[in-house]
Symmetry: C2
Subunit: 237 residues, 2 copies
């Protein structure tokens, strides 16, 4: 909505409030600002190098995103993530993604999905290639999400999905990835893509339902393991 200049990394002088928002958001999502961390206006403002006014605006947006909550007397803090909240988020995610996929299967232009299908077919090989492959696999998922968003053509629904994905990004950090799960997830995605291409909303919806069910199980298991033994290889999408 603000500057539409930000295409292609063109570093046009961004507004201070926008800079502050992006930086704080990024730091929260990648865990640099841990859940429960206090955000003092003056402190953060001078750290980022803006004055309090734009910083306040940034924090207001983060509150609207649900990444930050105001606490009673003093200041704000980063929202924390409980196991309960993960299940709750997935209940919302389930509703939104199933609806989105259903609509995408109804309205889609098949072309981008056919292309994605080809890419997802190579996923198993991709996942053999270590971190770089995994990274490219995640990029594929992003492309799939974008294609679905475009096919859905519903700003309200897409907006709600974006909000959910913001929180998902934080959750993924909690659970390290599990190669086995990623392989299975790729197969699930393929089924969803096929259903979209076939224009079968019902199949697409059910496949999505199952995919998210497995995804949640995997995340919860990963967190369980992580809190039991201090570190182990686990999973997300």
């Amino acid at each position: 909505m603000y500057t539409e200049t930000a295409m292609l990394g063109l570093d046009v002088p961004l507004r201070a409030s926008e800079r502050a928002y992006r930086q704080l958001r990024g730091e929260i999502l990648n865990g640099l600002l841990a859940p429960g961390a206090a955000l003092l206006e003056v402190e953060q403002a001078e750290r980022i190098g803006v004055s309090r006014t734009p910083l306040r605006e940034a924090v207001a947006r983060l509150i609207a995103d649900g990444l930050v909550v105001g606490r009673r007397g003093r200041g704000f803090e980063v929202t924390d993530i409980s196991v309960d909240s993960i299940s709750e988020l997935y209940e919302l995610r389930q509703a939104l993604e199933v609806q989105a996929i259903r609509l995408a299967a109804t309205r889609r232009d098949p072309a981008p999905f056919v292309e994605l299908r080809g890419a997802f077919l190579t996923a198993p090989e991709l996942l053999e290639q270590g971190d770089i492959g995994v990274h490219r696999y995640y990029a594929l998922i992003d492309e799939l999400e974008d294609a679905v968003d475009a096919a859905v053509e519903n700003p309200f629904l897409v907006g709600a999905l974006r909000a959910v994905r913001t929180h998902l990004a934080r959750i993924r950090r909690l659970a390290r990835r599990n190669p086995l799960r990623l392989r299975a997830a790729a197969a699930e995605h393929l089924l969803i893509i096929d259903a979209i291409i076939a224009g079968d909303p019902s199949l697409a919806a059910h496949a999505t339902h199952i995919h998210l069910h497995q995804s949640l199980l995997s995340v919860l298991a990963a967190i369980d393991e992580d809190s039991a033994s201090s570190r182990s290889a686990t999973a997300a999408d």
Copy 2:
């Protein structure tokens, strides 16, 4: 999230930004600020009686709510409501309410719903009593929504629903109410309540699906009529 003092209309000195937010939000929802209306900071600030800083915060929250959009160069304007956007909103609403009702039917404490059932049984009589009755009927719907929210126990889902209801409030203003539709809607609500009491998520979900389908049809028909003949009695929930 801010002051939790605002119970029971206790007019504790509210923060200026909160006052501005509530006033602007109210004026947008009840149509006093029409879609497309321009919001100039200085103008609005002095009208409401706050300075630009808290007003800016209020506008930022309205943007997050989707009630206001920033326009390229100059200022902000109230979001407009197209017929397309109504259908889109209902696609989101469908997903959220069906999920919420499903969860409510699973988790509910039956007591409040049994009570609501009694109230909804009297709806047909209530709707005979003119405006005051209709008003009380709408209050019943609010109570139902609150009961569902409480039963769902999912902040993410409830938060998304609240956002949708905000937009619905504006849409209801577009279409005047139709007594016949209200009577039918009451029956649909009763079915949903029964399903929740019975603890039958699937029945509750399908009943909700149908209810929203009818509701959308009614709203769209009402708007059609309104734009054809300049005024006529029409419908919402």
